[in-house]
Amino acid sequence: MLQYRDGDATAFDLLYARHKGALFRYCLRHCRERSTAEETFQDVWMRVIGARQRYEPRAKFATWLYRIAHNRVIDRYRSDNPGRFQSLDDNEDIGVLPAADRNDEPDRRLASGQQAARLRTLLAGLPAEQRDVFLLHEEAGLGLDAIAEVSGVGRETAKSRLRYALSKLRAALKERP
């Protein structure tokens, strides 16, 4: 990012290539609809580009990038739920799968290849803040400290959210072999 800030266009190409997949999936898991995820993804990169001249390496680039993404996701939730949503913590999604998802694909869950799809469905059913910490680790590769920084919470809070997320996912996956 420093090289791009100083005028090296190819540095941005490398940066983008390195982070685009993970960031896109982070947006996709939060937004669920691909078109919305693409809008959010593009918005995040536009903000990165727009902040080029002001960029100072106060943290790892990935931490900075996902903080922008985290905030954009919150904005998206707010726009989709006006007057209700203040932060990811306020998302009242229950931590269980939607009934339709559970009942429509019983056969697919039996195959190991289908377990991955099952996991994504379970992930979508998690409370947003738990889904967020899971994705920040799985997609962004962030540790607990960085996850806490991106989320704007303490380390123990981030750890607690992650523990809940893993516990729910594991229990849901074992619910039906």
């Binding site: 791009y4 100083d6 005028g7 266009a9 941005f12 190409d13 983008y16 685009k20 997949g21 896109f24 999936r25 996709l28 693409e38 993804f41 593009q42 990169w45 536009m46 580009i49 727009g50 080029r52 001249q53 290849g113 377990q115 991955a116 799809a117 996991l119 994504r120 992930l123 680790h137 799985e138 997609e139 540790g143 607990l144 750890k159 992650l162 523990r163 893993l166 516990s167 996912l169 594991r170 996956l173």
Partner: protein, 237 residues
């Protein structure tokens, strides 16, 4: 292993990237943005660079932009100071206390016997001021030097520049009359006529003396003007 310990172990494995959940999640997590989206974002990144590249943002420029700006301001300031003409050093501009201002010109007209500059150029200017414009018989008044004239014009805008009032004054020539303020004072008018004689402008002196005697027939003439008055008397039929 109790449930808490199991959760803690699961969390540790997950953070180390060695959990079954991680492997399962990564199995099909390969979604990527479309090529069109890639193209749009990369193009915007280059456009942003192109927009700001006009202003140098290289590390060198960022370090030197402030010192260079200060140096440029300093050079410009010194140049302006050095190149600005100093009115006190302009040739032809009075610096001995007799400023060429409208007020000074007026006082000169009202009191022509006040100390004035003694140079020939000054006398010529004084006569021209009374006569408005030198006559064809007079020596042409030397024009101000280039540059000096600009400062002089600025210093004395109404005394030496053509103004509406000046254009309304009598036409130049051997019969030109002094200003009304001088004509109103017979002694001053006589001194003016004497100065015309001294400056070897007899025609203007004769015209003025003729007009003076018409206006002030009983005013005694100085000795210097007696011969001229006698010659005027001789012309009478």
């Amino acid at each position: 292993m109790n449930p808490e310990e199991r959760d803690e172990e699961m969390l540790r494995e997950f953070l180390e990237g060695d959990s079954e959940l991680s492997r399962l999640y990564r199995r099909d997590a390969h979604e990527e943005p479309t090529a069109q989206l890639d193209k749009t974002i990369l193009a915007e990144a280059r456009r942003n660079l192109a927009r700001t590249r006009r202003v140098a943002h290289s590390p060198f420029a960022r370090h030197w932009v402030v010192p260079t700006s200060l140096a440029a301001v300093l050079v410009l300031s010194v140049s302006v100071v050095l190149l600005t003409p100093d009115p006190a050093r302009q040739p032809g501009v009075e610096i001995d206390g007799v400023a060429e201002t409208p007020a000074a010109a007026g006082s000169l007209a009202d009191a022509p016997d006040e100390p004035v500059k003694k140079s020939g150029e000054k006398r010529e200017r004084k006569a021209a001021r009374f006569e408005n414009v030198p006559s064809s018989e007079q020596q042409p008044r030397p024009g101000p030097a280039t540059g000096a004239g600009i400062a002089e014009e600025a210093a004395a805008p109404s005394a030496s520049r053509a103004s509406p009032e000046r254009l309304a004054e009598p036409l130049p020539g051997p019969h030109a009359m002094p200003a009304d303020t001088v004509q109103a004072d017979p002694a001053a008018w006589l001194r003016f006529i004497e100065s015309l004689l001294k400056e070897r402008n007899p025609q203007a002196a004769r015209s003025n003396l003729r007009a003076f005697r018409t206006r002030y027939p009983n005013f005694p003439l100085p000795a210097a003007l007696t011969p001229l008055a006698a010659s005027l008397d001789a012309e009478r039929p």
